[in-house]
Amino acid sequence: MAIPIQIDKGAAKYRKERLDRGIKARSDTIYALSSYREAFYLLLPRAVTIIGLLILPLVLDEYWTKVIVLTCVVGILALSWDFIASAGMFSLGQTLFFGVGAYFAGIMNHYWGLPPILSIPLATLFGAAFCTVLILPVLRLRGIYFAMVTFVLPQILVRIIAMSGAFGGVEGLSALSPMPSFWVATYLAILALFVCLFGFRKLINTDYGVVLKGIKGNDQAVMSGGINIYWYKAQAIFIGGSAGAFAGAFMTHFYRFVGLPAFSMDYTILPIAATVVGGTGMFAGAMFGSFILVPLTELLRAIGSWRVVLYSFLMVIFIVALPEGIFHYLQRKYHQIERWVTTES
């Protein structure tokens, strides 16, 4: 469909010129620093995020601290989704990792009596391994087919648990061991979020991460480089899955309960919505998005289940109207100087 371009010759006297700031070299990651001012300019956003998040639980009341914990958990799930997506796999089943991690922690605690300090790390490892094995047969699939299978897997697991009555069936396992204290739980969640955020960012820029990104860009080219992409994909699922499984195991002990809600659609749709709103492919966007969506959700608690409607449609609007996400937009603005210049006529 051809769109006729209309040029109004009288009006366009000025145009906005956008220039990258001096310290930003013509590359996405290399900066040329020449003064403390410029170092400060780069450190400011990172420092504000870290220090701000560490201070927030001290100044907020208990209710909003719980919201922060929930935000961190959704943030970890979103980071895990973004990491797996960086390797070219679009999962529609973040709730699989969450639920499996949650159930592993619950089972270890309920049947074997392991304390949280053991059950959370073990559930993280074994949960991620279990999910990887489950996804292993479908690693050869691409794009939509992978999304479909990851969507189906948790739903079927839910039905199997509900119908067979295993692990407490529909009632779930309750009265599990609590976290040592509320503050330990809060800072554990925040710490885990930072580990995921900065760890994934570091990892994706190493040679290893380049291979993962290559699989996303052109998997056949990576294969022709003599690299076994399925082995790398399995590793990516394991790494991303362990973040998701940790979130699940953590929430099990935080709520002292694990049940079918651990596989609820919320844990799929919220992380994806957060990543889409924040911006995909940069991890910070995923975290940023969850810090917008989850507190917003709490503020809108009054509208009940319309919240899911809200973020579903928010997600659709963003994917259509602002596909790069808020974070990319803000980042571009932060790194650019804008000024009006006269147009040459």
């Binding site: 189906v152 119908m163 009940g304 659709v316």
Partner: protein
């Protein structure tokens, strides 16, 4: 034994009805419509509202509901998918978001309970080979068969059906013959959604209208599509037969609760042994793997 065969057939026809719209859309436009399940519920809900709130005669309400759902599907393409066409991730997220959002809308306005029930076409039952089968189940069988026949005639005998197949085979060649890709995709999405509504109106009278059915239908559509091979009508029928009979056999000899495990194991086996699906073509294999 006769009962198992008859109910297996009816079950398979139900599955075919529920999933054929999804596969049709995917085969033609390459859009995996994750809102398919939501459209299924929409079809039933619109028909119910028309009958109970406005008081329109049942056949008319069913017709209107099918048309409205079809238009919704077309609108989904025109308003949302048109803008993100070709970006697979965006397509999936957009349809998934619309689907979940729509189902949550129904949940929020309180779509649950015994009052939400569609009337049957015909009451009563019939004895077939010593087994009593009610008319509604026979109608499902009939509608399923008619739909498959209609689709075959439509895609082999009508101009727009041939255009559909052209686009499905090779989009660029089809474009050079003057077949408009966007228009075809929109029609395919509308048709797929209309089939979802048709399935809802035929199948829903057997139970209550429940939002959860949307999720089940979507899972089933994905499973049938994966096992049978997308776009292939024969594949859909065979996969529906496998699932339909597996469910009945498992329910008769073991525990009905195991049928989900059969679903999962079948999907996994097919993906490991033949990733293109039972009836998938080689070209499709390249896209998948």
């Amino acid at each position: 034994m006769a009962g198992m065969i008859i109910y297996g057939l009816i079950n398979s026809a139900t599955f075919t009805l529920m999933t054929i719209g999804f596969s049709l859309t995917f085969g033609i436009s390459g859009v995996a419509n994750f809102a398919h399940g939501a459209f299924y519920v929409t079809g039933a809900y619109v028909a119910w509202q028309l009958i109970n709130s406005i008081g329109i005669a049942y056949p008319l309400a069913a017709g209107i509901s099918i048309i409205v759902t079809g238009l919704l599907g077309a609108a989904l393409y025109w308003l949302v998918l048109y803008r993100v066409r070709g970006l697979i991730l965006s397509e999936v997220i957009a349809t998934f978001g619309v689907g979940v959002g729509l189902m949550e809308v129904f949940r929020s306005i309180g779509l649950s309970g015994h009052s939400y029930k569609l009337p049957k076409f015909l009451e009563g039952s019939l004895e077939v080979l010593g087994v009593y089968v009610d008319f509604q189940r026979l109608i499902i069988l009939g509608v399923g068969a008619a739909l498959v026949l209609f689709l075959w005639l439509f895609s082999h005998r009508t101009k727009i059906g041939l255009a559909f197949r052209g686009i499905a085979q090779d989009e660029f060649t089809a474009l050079s013959f003057g077949i408009e890709s966007d228009m075809t995709a929109m029609v395919s999405l509308g048709l797929g959604s209309a089939f979802a509504a048709l399935a809802a109106i035929t199948v829903m009278p057997l139970s209550l209208i429940q939002v959860e059915e949307g999720g089940n239908v979507l899972i089933l559509a994905l499973a049938v599509g994966i096992v049978g091979g997308m776009e292939s009508i024969a594949g859909i029928i065979v996969a529906s037969l496998i699932f339909g009979f597996a469910q009945i056999v498992v329910a008769t000899y073991f525990n009905p609760h195991y049928s989900m495990i059969v679903l999962l194991v079948t999907i996994m086996l097919v993906l490991i042994i033949k990733p293109s699906g039972l009836f998938g073509k080689f070209k499709e294999l390249e896209e998948r793997v």
